[in-house]
Symmetry: C2
Subunit: 343 residues, 2 copies
């Protein structure tokens, strides 16, 4: 096992990397803990859940909605959960987002932890304390920012991860490299997906490095007034097309990163859109998609990063160096239109 610690708003969050699921029993009191997971994970890991109070939700982003929150709250009441109860989300980003959100609002706040089970959740979704649910086509429209007490990563749980889920994770890994870590970007350009699937040590190192990239950014700017905004690279257009066209998160932000790279070439000295496209393709990610510009722009107008009539958009100065620029909505709309037309 490998411990990492970062401090947010004066409180320490501990990562237990390369740990075993069973170690959970040493971290919390089983009698005052409720696990939250989804139906697939519950079926796949029944033994692991033995002896734990567990709430099982439907699997899939379409269930990251208020109705699921209502159902969890009802079950917590039935289970007699009180302020001393710890909630633990065992699953991918949907499970950890919902668990963090319920923990933020149930009885005005319970302690919580995560056992992320997908690569995406390990390197990104479970890190940084953002939680929430979708409202219609608007992703994460409702939520809070609140940090888990701990995260436990059991790499054995990645064994059953389908390939498309590995690909999703690499979208965020490439994002981290693009905005913060040129050396990692070069490493990714040399390797490929199977490198990390086959070499457990390389994978463990990669996950740890990505937790570090994100946790350090969040540690300095938990409430996203500065540098944390860089983590939205590819996510503005990405979120808009993700729910509109039922893309996976990785696919959507991959296309979003290509668009943001192209927009960067208009606003900064960035000239390496080809390298971004190359890396994304290398890990099985799509780099373009047909979509309706008007529809996308309507959703963009409701993006949380919109401020009055402008949008804070994340661009690249160069590989490994992201930057936020304020772009007037009207100009952004023209650019999105031209990117779509150009392809």
């Amino acid at each position: 096992m490998n411990k990492l610690q970062y401090t947010f708003s004066g409180k320490t969050t501990t990562w237990y990397l390369d740990a075993d699921f069973g170690y959970l029993a040493k971290l919390v009191d089983k009698d005052h803990t409720v696990l939250i997971t989804d139906e697939h994970l519950f079926a796949a890991h029944q033994k692991r859940f033995g002896g734990w109070s567990t709430i099982v939700i439907n699997a899939g982003e379409q269930y990251k909605v208020q109705a699921t929150v209502d159902s969890i709250i009802e079950q917590l009441i039935e289970l007699g959960a009180d302020r001393k109860t710890t909630l633990i989300g065992v699953g991918g980003g949907v499970v950890t987002d919902i668990t963090g959100y319920v923990a933020a609002i149930y009885m005005r706040g319970l302690a919580f932890g995560f056992v992320p089970t997908s690569l995406l959740a390990m390197v990104d979704a479970s890190v940084g304390g953002k939680n929430g649910i979708d409202v219609g086509v608007y992703k994460n429209m409702v939520g809070t920012i609140r940090q888990p007490q701990f995260l436990l990563y059991d790499y054995a749980m990645l064994k059953s991860l389908p390939k498309e889920e590995w690909v999703n994770g690499f979208a965020e890994i490439i994002k981290h490299a693009a905005i913060k870590d040129a050396a990692l970007f070069r490493e990714l350009e040399k390797n490929k997906l199977t490198t990390y699937q086959k070499d457990k040590a390389a994978l463990a190192k990669l996950i740890k490095r990505n937790v570090g990239i994100k946790a350090k950014v969040v540690e300095k700017d938990e409430f996203e007034r500065g540098d944390r905004r860089l983590l939205n690279f590819g996510h503005t257009l990405g979120h808009a097309i993700e729910n509109l066209y039922e893309l996976s998160h990785g696919q959507a932000i991959s296309i979003g990163m290509v668009a943001a790279s192209m927009i960067s070439e208009e606003f900064t000295d960035f000239k390496e859109t080809d390298r971004v496209i190359g890396a994304l393709k290398r890990y099985g990610l799509p780099t373009l998609a047909a979509f309706n510009a008007k529809e996308v722009i309507n959703v963009l107008r409701m993006d949380k990063k919109k401020v009055k009539e402008s949008m804070n958009y994340v661009l690249l100065n160069k590989i490994g160096q992201g930057v936020v620029r304020t772009i007037p909505l009207a100009e952004l709309e023209k650019l999105v239109q031209s990117i779509i037309t150009a392809r």
Copy 2:
């Protein structure tokens, strides 16, 4: 106008007491502000709402539920509310509780302010940052703690307040006096409701004193680990019977305070239950009610102040001095049973 300021988690909240509703326009940018109020207030004060984006909700505690939150969020999306939008709750405790809650979760948090329009909201509900909604019979089961930027009190809005609402406010005023301010308790024992309804200066002084009592407690203990718990005097049993028997909040906690005074006589040197009963009666509040002990105890078991098999219960050492005692649930159940039987 009369300004008060208190600081919570390093941020200052400003009270504009004895102010005019119109002053709101000086505090916020009308174009990036949304007011939330209920149908009765909107009808009664139409002129005041002119020129403001306003969301109107159904009036009454039965609407302090998730469905109302869903509807407000839908309307905020339609209005194009973004992170720079300020929400202002204009109304009683239901409106301020819901507004604070929506402001905590919409886009992971907007700035917000309150214009409390009932005596209860002015002296209690709008002060201290607790927000939330009910779930079934469980009051405030879901919510957060987050402070408004400002509160504006326009005493002219109290003119149309029905008598039962005045009485509700005095239940919390008597509570504040009982746990923290023996001199205020003596003042209340000398005066009566009409004293404050007729004498605007006496009322203004009373409201300011009560804001001060509560805000100072919350300033020292925002997240309710210590002294803030005293503010729950009368609320444990009170909340249980409020929703079960459709009592007003004032009626419910009045009965709760009598029960807590009687329980105090078992655990502390307190011997003045008669004075508590006298003061409550003086302001038109009920001091006993027929209820089903078993039903009440079942709801008590889900109270947020329950911790594992005990309950943190607020008692009195003497008038003006509250104290928290941990009482095992089993013992509490017997006491509740005997209080009911005794009457």
